[in-house]
């Protein structure tokens, strides 16, 4: 695995009127970074900035140590991508789309592409418009993976797909990771999509990266604690993401993003008893991170 990061985004800012996307993140070689956020959080704008489709107002984007502004074509030869909605040339035959795209990439793997076409029973003589949504998504993925890229930029690749096709996408991406080990930047507003693949997860809300953390650390650091107490305890708000106290039944629900055994002692000192600690699913972590600040 190369030491040079596959992607470095330094202080990038893109503005659209009131909306401003600010990103500062690195994707290591062979790493899968999932960017999650609700609709309108800036995921598609991020991918467009990375592909040179829109130019950010400031900041620096480097792929494999090369500056995007100066080495756009050389970089793109090593980058596979899926754009939002997987737009392909609708009036062109699927086989011709592949032949057209193959011309741009020096490492296009026709054996792999043919084997996938056969595996997914994709008819190359059919026009893209005649293919079903799932088949179009499959064709888009073949275009993205066909060049055996060093980095894949995937914008909502599973949006609108049925669970079976989603499963298929995950298997395909896993196969590619095992085969030629690309780095992947994958965006989605559905946590389950990135849960299976991502090594690290970036949470994007209203153009701001709120948190970038490895999946393991997220699972380790986030806990829900339930307990009982007679009155609302005084707790350090920096240690707790959420504190919900039901005065009638004396129950308290707490969520922390920096779990350690010492927290239990502090709860005990604050008068919380009958404490139970639970791990949070990534879906639950997502919902807490995305909560608007109160």
């Amino acid at each position: 695995m190369s030491e040079t990061p596959a992607l470095e985004i330094e202080q990038m800012e893109k503005r659209y009127g009131e909306f401003s996307l600010r990103v500062n993140v690195t994707v290591r070689s062979g790493e899968v970074l999932g960017v999650v956020g609700p609709n309108g959080s800036g995921k598609t704008t991020l991918i467009r900035c990375l592909l040179g489709l829109v130019k950010p107002e400031r900041g620096r984007i480097r792929f494999f140590g090369l500056d995007l502004e100066r080495h756009e074509v050389a970089i793109k030869r090593r980058v596979g991508f899926i754009l939002e909605g997987a737009p392909l040339f609708r009036r062109v035959r699927a086989g011709d789309v592949l032949r057209f795209c193959a011309g741009f990439y020096p490492h296009w793997d026709w054996d792999m592409v043919r084997s996938w076409m056969h595996q997914f029973q994709l008819d190359g003589s059919k026009e893209v418009a005649e293919l079903s949504k799932g088949m179009r998504a499959q064709l888009g993925l073949i275009v993205a993976f066909g060049s055996r890229p060093d980095l894949l930029l995937l914008d909502e690749p599973t949006a609108g797909l049925d669970p079976g096709t989603r499963r298929w996408f995950v298997e395909l991406a896993r196969g590619a990771l095992a085969d030629f080990g690309p780095a992947i930047l994958l965006t989605s507003h559905i946590m389950a999509d990135v849960e299976d693949l991502a090594d690290r997860i970036a949470f994007l809300r209203q153009g701001e990266l709120l948190l970038v953390e490895s999946k393991e650390r997220l699972c380790q650091n986030w806990r829900r604690i339930r307990g009982r107490c007679r009155a609302r305890p005084r707790l350090d708000s920096n240690e707790w993401v959420a504190i919900e106290y039901e005065a009638i039944c004396g129950e308290i629900h707490l969520v922390t993003s920096c779990w350690q055994e010492g927290l239990l002692d502090r709860l005990w000192e604050a008068g919380v008893t009958e404490v139970t600690v639970q791990r949070l699913s990534l879906e639950e972590i997502y919902s807490y991170v995305m909560r608007p600040p109160s």
Binding site: L53, A74, Y105
Partner: protein, 205 residues
């Protein structure tokens, strides 16, 4: 009894048909290309094209070249027929047909560079339609001015002594090269401005 057909096409017929076909096709192909570009923009495929590993300059010039080749493919067969048809009529008419061909080719280049430049640099079909209409209306401006009698008189007086010289120049090889060169230079100027605009765009979506 024998029935004999005597059918003579006057010389102006192949000349007129070649002129109309050449000029029409020379303008229609770039406009058709502009419509395709706008459609691909609306469907999102243009984003895919811009995201592929191809420089913006190559994408721009490739599109213009496609429009020029498109117009050539459209008008060349009709033009060739018109040239062949004019041969039996009068050999003297051939230079005029060739002149028409050169001018039509040059105008194809001008219209392709202009229309494709606008189509690539704007995302609004309405704006595109207005600009194209304006572009094709502009050459009619001198004709409109001629409607004014005073201007016509002045122009008449100015050009009359030189009319034969001008006609000879236009019909001569030198004149054709001059007109074609001028139009091609105009195309290059449009292309230069167009590629600068296209490559410095802040958004291709």
């Amino acid at each position: 009894m024998t029935l004999t057909f005597t059918y003579e096409l006057p010389l102006w017929y192949p000349l007129l048909s070649s002129a109309v076909a050449s000029l029409g096709a020379g303008f229609i192909a770039p406009v058709a290309m502009a419509v395709v570009i706008q459609r691909e923009k609306a469907e999102g495929s243009f984003q895919l094209l811009c995201a592929l590993p191809i420089s913006k300059e190559r994408l721009f010039f490739g599109t213009v070249l496609a429009a020029v080749v498109g117009s050539l493919v459209l008008w060349l067969p009709g033009y060739a027929v018109a040239v062949l048809a004019s041969i039996p009529k009068a050999l003297g008419g051939i230079p005029l047909v060739i002149t028409l061909g050169v001018i039509a080719l040059s105008l194809s280049c001008v219209s392709a560079s202009f229309v494709v430049t606008i189509a690539l640099n704007t995302s609004s079909p309405t704006a595109l339609a207005y600009v194209i209409a304006l572009f094709f209306a502009l050459p009619q401006l001198p004709a409109m001015l001629l409607l004014s009698e005073r201007i016509e008189e002045k122009l008449h007086a100015l050009l009359e002594p030189h009319l034969w010289t001008i006609m000879n120049l236009v019909l001569s090889i030198r004149g054709q090269l001059l007109v074609a060169g001028g139009l091609l230079l105009f195309s290059l100027l449009i292309l230069f401005a167009g590629v600068q605009l296209f490559s410095s765009k802040r958004s291709y979506v």
